[in-house]
Assembly symmetry: C2
Homo-oligomer: 334 residues x 2
DNA sequence: TTGTAAGCGTTATCAT
DNA sequence: ATGATAACGCTTACAA
């Protein structure tokens, strides 16, 4: 016997397919008690499992959404997708998480695949090269929410951190601690998030009348970071404070410090953008800029669900503040 | 205009649906050059996207698999799912990752949902209460691979670490470093992984003629760990070495040490089961037992794909060795 | 209160 | 070399 279908249940219960369907969709309104129990029993006995594929095909909605994250290795991405899943599961919507690995080609593939699977909407950490695809989605009125990065010209909701302000206050904190030679390390300035962080950095220095030294603006691929840090510390007056642009960069900075025998908090002060699970447990504890990842995920999910249900969206751009959690690593150097 | 379907393409190209379908499935055998190009153009112009739902319904396979991990907050789970995804995407199969949160109820829901979505197979980190569900899957000949945990009586492939042996050699290493009062901290002994680790621990002590003290066998929920550690260090002769059973437990041990001002490597030595991204960067660097998570994920995926393609599977139980990476935290105390 | 039948967007069989 | 037509398993008017 092949897979059990609704027809099998109907036959066993001695009713028609539509009645079984009514039952499954809890439209008992006018159903006689005994038909109900007969169907119930038939389902039990046959161990019938409905086929969502068929149902979705008919209903033209899958109760499934997709989220395409930039790089799943970032703690931020994991936290956001957890929030999105938690939100949707409470609304009986399933979430498929895809990892674009910051690769526009992969991202494009995933968008196509998810749309082919007829997901009802998409949350995307966008990359500039795929701008036209996003425009197309929006033109089609397809439900979509962008996350973390801003691409100008996109008329769709965006949920992101206040990167500029957050970085500004981290740098201001460094300055308050007496630092003047402050470096910022980011991945290549190809996405808005990184640009905004760099801008916040510049702004803070300018407001404090500190010259901006190009040498202190380090931007490179993760693989190149070690050699960039070498250069950074080879200059005449190396920085006394470093802001690491995200968690993966922190690992690089720590690795560099370890190899060069530079002690954090002594050789240089350190702040990292992102929540780091071990930040408070290492020695010295690391000062972090915490993003509201969970809240942001929830908000994005909510905005997506609204679109799916054809509800109006208030604002297109939703910025979330970050929290500077000051620990020993950013204190005045001994 | 609603969504573009194959019928629209057919009409535009002046051919029948079947011809378009042939084209899409690359059966050009007998197709005239000009029909081909006409179809190609129609697809471009209309921006046609196929509907996998309809196709899957007809073909009775979705080219999608599911993986249900025990708890996504473990690094191990993340690494395994990455491997599974990477493997399947190369075989044009999509992967849906679900997080059971070590909750059998959630797990059950996910299994039902994934089967309703007609996924072609499942990789599961199983939990004992759902044994009957697994048995049912196997009875139906549904492709399934179990991961990480062994449930007896399941006639389906299992991919897991050599937990016993790995723990044994970690404890032996402690003993070689002169430790005799060695504690092991695990989550509740409800799954085989934890039992196997405890057994390896006992075995190593026994072989070295060291008495097994019940006080040194700490098993509790993460939330209770702090108070259990309190008790552990309140006894007359507290341990000089601790094996943390996984990455989440490591965080608890570090938190405890920090609060009590116990320095790792001085107050007690430490080894942790699992790969920890920061292990080599903290002070002191932490000795870890590294599981072959990526390899295991690949192997599980391969075994699943074989089943989906009705190929024979050689062995049912596949154990992977772990690597003890010795760093400063497990050295002889100063 | 329940049944009939059409249709969702494909693929597959068989004609032509 | 291409087309008609019947599935796939479900939902939903509408009929009874």
């Amino acid at each position: 016997m092949g897979k059990i279908t609704m027809a099998d249940v109907a036959e066993k219960a001695g009713v028609s397919k539509s009645t079984v369907s009514q039952f499954l969709n809890k439209r008992y309104h006018y159903m006689r008690e005994d038909t109900r129990t007969r169907i119930e029993e038939a389902i039990k006995e046959l161990n019938y499992q409905p086929n969502y594929l068929a149902r979705s095909l008919k209903q033209k909605r899958t109760s499934t959404v997709g989220i395409i994250v930039g790089n799943i290795m970032h703690r931020f991405s994991t936290e956001v997708s957890r929030a999105v899943e938690d939100y949707f599961i409470q609304h009986d919507v399933h979430t498929i998480v895809c990892n674009a690995d910051n690769n526009p080609e992969k991202e494009k593939k995933y968008i196509e695949m998810l749309r082919a699977k007829q997901v009802d909407g998409l949350i995307i950490f966008p990359t500039a090269p795929n701008l036209d695809i996003y425009q197309q989605l929006i033109r089609e009125n397809y439900p979509v929410v962008f996350m973390d990065r801003k691409l100008s010209g996109l008329k769709a909701p965006l949920v992101a951190s206040e990167n500029n302000e957050a970085t500004w206050s981290a740098i201001q904190h460094f300055i308050d601690q007496g630092h003047e030679r402050i470096a910022i390390v980011t991945e290549p300035l190809t996405i808005s998030t990184r640009l905004e962080r760099r801008d916040g950095y510049k702004q803070a220095l300018e407001e404090n009348g500190i010259e901006i030294k190009p040498d202190f603006l380090v931007s490179a691929e993760i693989k190149q970071i070690q050699q960039e840090l070498e250069k950074l510390f080879a200059i005449e007056s190396p920085p006394t404070a470093i802001l690491a642009g995200n968690d993966l960069l922190l690992i690089e900075v720590l690795k560099f410090a370890k190899e060069k025998n530079l002690k954090i908090g002594e050789a240089f002060a350190l702040i990292v953008f992102d929540n780091i699970p071990f930040a408070h447990l290492v020695d010295p504890p690391v000062t972090t800029i915490k993003q509201s990842s969970y809240l942001m995920g929830e908000r994005a999910a909510e905005l997506l669900l609204k679109q799916i249900n054809n509800q109006k969206i208030e604002a297109l751009e939703m910025r979330f503040p970050c929290e500077l959690i000051i620990r020993d690593s950013s204190k005045r150097l001994k």
